[in-house]
């Protein structure tokens, strides 16, 4: 994730009161009262209170919290399936709460597609017609929408099932249809409310993986709701933690694991935070390829491209780590007719011993996101740790 991402949605001071006297509830909120007291005093539920955050173009933002924390309310305020009580939601310059009915309709069609926890497929429509729904109501002509729906179904691995009815499919497949319905629509933001929570664990893992791949391919701005920390860590670029209708922390999975904002977050991640006993050895993977000190730039380039790498470690015959060579430098050296890589060898990457605790590793991933080299006391290369592996290891050990 680079810093130059543009902001897709700005949410500012968003609040939602369920009940007939929202003003009263908000006044009490401004006096510093919390949800339970407000409920007791006025009978109004403070669903969301003063929520502000940005959604960046192309990111996968996870909103996490316990049941009743206001996740569904928040995501539904974005497309006004629930009317916000106050606050701004700005998408591409439009302030959603201020739109009139017609503009809202257009805004929903253009910007939002939603995937639901219990799939919410139309039972009287075939898989194909479900996937076409969003396009159909926008008046897209038959040939085009057939094609787009087909493509979307293919994306989620459902080609051949176009004519089935939703009731003939398993849960996982039904949710794929739900996903295809959202993708076919070609809207700019994907809203997913506990989209995988109704699936059994194995299928759920698969779906997470597929969503990640899809997201990687299509770079679609996605807001994903879950009450499951593993899921959040696994797929989120950033995570927003909600409690009683308020944001307690916004951050990358690393931020949340390493610096829990408060007791609540800390308790949330308690089950997961095994990082103190886990070390680099646990998360380390074998090195896919290394170069020798006497390799020429062309050999290095071939090794890089064969293994799909953009940098490669250089070792001695005894696997003693000498340094790293970047692809662009090797490319330049080859063009300049250099015979040796000694000149372009550098030391600008993190290296740790195998017993380094995992939670120390987060800080080491620099902005170029180079992997961390793991070396023994004789500087021999044992393996590498990539960013994702740390999280995966943490998440998995949380499950055990």
């Amino acid at each position: 994730m680079s810093e130059s991402q543009t902001t897709k949605i700005q949410v500012r001071g968003l609040s939602k009161v369920f009940g007939s006297q929202p003003k009263k509830a908000l006044e009490l909120r401004d006096q510093g009262l919390k949800r339970p007291e407000i409920l007791e005093k006025t009978g109004q539920t403070l669903g969301l209170s003063n929520i502000s955050f940005d959604v960046k173009e192309g990111e996968l933002l996870v909103i996490m919290g316990l049941s009743g924390s206001g996740k569904s309310t928040l995501i539904r305020c974005l497309n006004r399936l629930i009317e916000p009580t106050e606050g701004d939601i700005i998408i591409d310059g439009e302030n959603i709460p201020k739109l009139n009915e017609k503009e809202l309709l257009q805004c929903r069609r253009r910007h939002f597609s939603m995937v639901f926890q219990n799939f919410a497929l139309f039972p009287h429509r075939t898989v194909q017609n479900n996937a076409e729904y969003g396009l159909e109501i926008r008046g897209v002509d038959k040939a085009e929408r057939t094609q787009k729906a087909r493509d979307a179904l293919k994306q989620v691995g459902l080609d051949g099932w176009e004519d089935a009815m939703p009731s003939q499919l398993s849960g996982g497949m039904q949710q794929r249809v739900g996903l295809a319905r959202a993708l076919a629509n070609d809207s700019s933001v994907l809203l997913m409310d506990e989209a995988f929570s109704a699936l059994d664990p194995l299928i759920r893992k698969d779906m997470q993986q597929e969503l990640l791949e899809l997201q990687h391919r299509m770079k679609k701005t996605t807001i994903f709701i879950t009450h499951d920390l593993d899921e959040a860590l696994n797929i989120g670029d950033r995570i927003i933690l909600l409690k009683d209708g308020e944001i307690v922390q916004i951050g990358t999975p690393e931020d949340i694991l390493t610096n829990p904002a408060d007791e609540y977050v800390a308790r949330f991640i308690e089950g997961v935070d095994m990082s103190r006993i886990l070390t680099a050895r646990h998360a380390m993977r074998p090195v896919r390829a290394t170069a020798r000190e006497d390799d020429g730039p062309r050999t290095v380039l071939r090794k890089l491209s064969e293994n799909g790498l953009d940098s490669i470690y250089v070792t001695t015959r005894e696997r003693k780590l000498l340094g790293l060579v970047d692809a662009d430098a090797a490319d330049q050296a080859a063009k300049d007719g250099e015979q040796s890589i000694k000149a372009i060898l550098h030391d600008d990457f993190p290296r740790v011993g195998p017993d380094e605790p995992l939670n120390n590793l987060f800080a080491m991933f620099n902005e170029k996101s180079r992997p961390i080299a793991v070396v023994d006391e004789n500087q021999r290369l044992l393996g590498v740790v990539v960013k994702g592996a740390v999280l995966a290891e943490l998440a998995e050990s949380g499950e055990r």
């Binding site: 069609r109 939603m114 919410a120 139309f122 729904y133 109501i137």
Partner: protein, 280 residues
Amino acid sequence: MAIDIPRLPLGDWIEGGLDYLTTQFSAVTRGISHVTQGGINSLNDALMWMPAWSLIALIALLCWRMSGVRLAVGSALGLALIWNLGLWDPMIESLTLVVIATLVAVVIALPLGILAAISNRFYAIIMPVLDFMQTMPAFVYLIPAIPFFGIGSVSAIFATVIFSMPPAIRFTTLGIRQVPKELIEAADAFGSTRSQKLVKVQLPLSLPTIMAGINQTIMLALSMVVIAAMIGADGLGNEVWKAIQRLRPGDGFEAGIAVVILAMVLDRLTQSFRKTKKAQ
């Protein structure tokens, strides 16, 4: 301490109101009467022009397609019995009245039912009205029909429509309100307009329920059409009526059995329609 509360002249008021309506709207009622009578006559003529056996075959075929062999054979035998008893023409007359009354009732009931499903205020207004319409003894409707449309089949249709409409309205409302909230959310989330939501989601999903309502409407219409013989409607009711006046219980029962057969065929047929719709 007896306070003498004067009797409320409720009946007088109603009569006054009806008088007012009949004089004010005589042109309208005459128009309606004309059109309805025309409809009744042409449908009657068409059905009677067909030889009885061919209509029986047609209905049996329909039953076979919609339901199966059993219903096809059953209705063919039942209808043949009616033919054999010499009650074919009165049966056709009754059928015509049922068909036309049901059509009119459904055409009025669908929009009302949809409105009641969408608007809570309209729901609050119409439900007591429906209760009233359904608990009022059936033949009371016959009386105001006469000043509007005179003695005969048009009055019968008028009374029948009013009497048989409530279930169609109720079930339409019920069916639409029963559509799962999640599906409504899904339709909204993709930016459906209100009418798109109605046509593409709410109505198709409530169709089985609406069909159940229409089935009840047909049954009520048939029962009313028989009673409407009291105000001069033709058909099987009239046969029963004649049998009563001539004190011939045998004839009366024959006509009664014909009514039962017609009712069963109509009921099973509409039910099977509902089921096949649901299975799709």
